[in-house]
Symmetry: D2
Subunit: 154 residues, 4 copies
């Protein structure tokens, strides 16, 4: 099993995600195969997570004394996407620990509401003390936002 | 003088551009200085030009027998921009030749309507025959769209 | 368990990989935290896999009638890397099926020979028929190269 | 005339540049046309300038009290380049002022020594005081390196 498991990710729709985040695609996102390059999915997941956290909490991830750093990421690619399509990221928290949080992310073609995810990923942020670089407790403001996005996957 | 010249680019507002195109920024767009990396401006200009041409004409730049290739680009950076700000690209055609078109582009913080451009660039596309790679006439459908975006800069 | 499991990935050195591939880093690779952005790791893995396959087999992935598309990718981030460091990707095939291949990838600071991996990832390519988009057998030339990179992880 | 002018840039070879800097290309650098995306040229110019400055002077551009920020950039695209080709950036200083420096940059296919530039660009860095954000004198260590790369273009 992989961290994406539980419900079959191929059946996930945007309704399965507490948070949705709209993003635009770029000409340069498409690679030689004419579709969204696989690394772009991670740029979009990162953008949704950080954009949502900033909007919800006002915490600046760069100046925070306890930044979150990426410990692990992964993605399953289920269908092709590409510029110029606008996309929507679905975001859910699937595990919330003392110093780490795991997100599940879905990537959807915005113009196909109700459709299933074209990609499903996971993402682990570990919060660390800026100076000691050791794991530290997730700050309360961030934790509250994460709890509002918490879901249980079968 | 540079191709950006004419009106002082520092005074341009979005009202000076016949076409506006909304784009989103990404976490990874910001570089070590915490602002939009200079190369990202070109990704956004490219996205606005191609996104607008596809929307206006339906011509697929990849399968077209006469694709437009970039012959020259340039940008002046006037103010800092950065994730998570949404941005708007202003687009104008400043020169329309037989086989080449020159765009002027402005990059604006979407949340400051009426503000002056944070960056002003130019862009030259040359249309070529896919097989011979020689310059060829801009197809009529594209030319019509370009004419609608044509402006005269002092 | 994840597809990265088996030997503890934190102990892997470049000697554990049959193929090594040198890459350079870029100013824009570093994000606001001043280290290599997490999505860049995937760009480098992709570059090593495709660069090595092209060099070994001469097969052009773009014009091939049976291209390999990414079905899954993942990465664990173990230590910070960043521009201007040159990096080395270690590559091993850990599973070779009829139509799919799984790679394990390590990312190493080139200037610390003998050091352990700063990141360890996995990558699944599925070979498909260009027209039907259905999985197809990996072509013989590619399969031979993959077999030479095949390892057994405990 | 543009800042690229003077000698016809189409005749420049690597011998015309006091500094050369090797870079690698990536799978994702190629866009839908199968060649190096136009914005990648700027990532490589930035990498050569900053990589060379760090190597020559040891000055960390991020923590420096007087960082250099990009005021202007531009590129003329003369020939196609693309992954998996290794490339070489040629770098020359063409103007050295009190607080600003102008570079000319050439991009070359490494495997065609003696060939002419596939792209020629220019780049203006302005050094500013980190706190006041006002232009300030280029620090002596950097200025010495820049003087060693100074050329006169006809």
């Amino acid at each position: 099993v992989t961290p994406d498991d539980g419900d079959d990710p191929r059946t996930l729709t945007l309704d399965d995600f507490p948070v949705t985040w709209a993003v635009t695609t770029r000409w340069a996102d498409n690679d030689m195969f004419g579709h969204l390059n696989n690394a772009v999915h991670y740029e979009l997941f990162d953008t949704a997570i950080n954009g949502w956290l900033v909007a919800e909490t006002g915490v600046d991830p760069v100046t925070s004394p306890t930044p979150g750093v990426v410990a692990e990421s992964g993605c399953r690619y289920l269908a092709e996407l590409g510029f110029p399509e606008p996309l929507t990221v679905g975001l859910a928290v699937t595990r919330l620990g003392r110093s780490s949080v795991t997100y599940q992310l879905g990537l959807f073609a915005s113009e196909q509401p109700g459709g299933t995810a074209a990609a499903v990923g996971h993402w682990v942020h570990v919060y660390i003390d800026r100076d000691t670089r050791r794991p530290t407790a997730i700050p309360d403001g961030l934790r509250s936002a994460m709890q509002r996005a918490l879901v249980t996957r079968a």
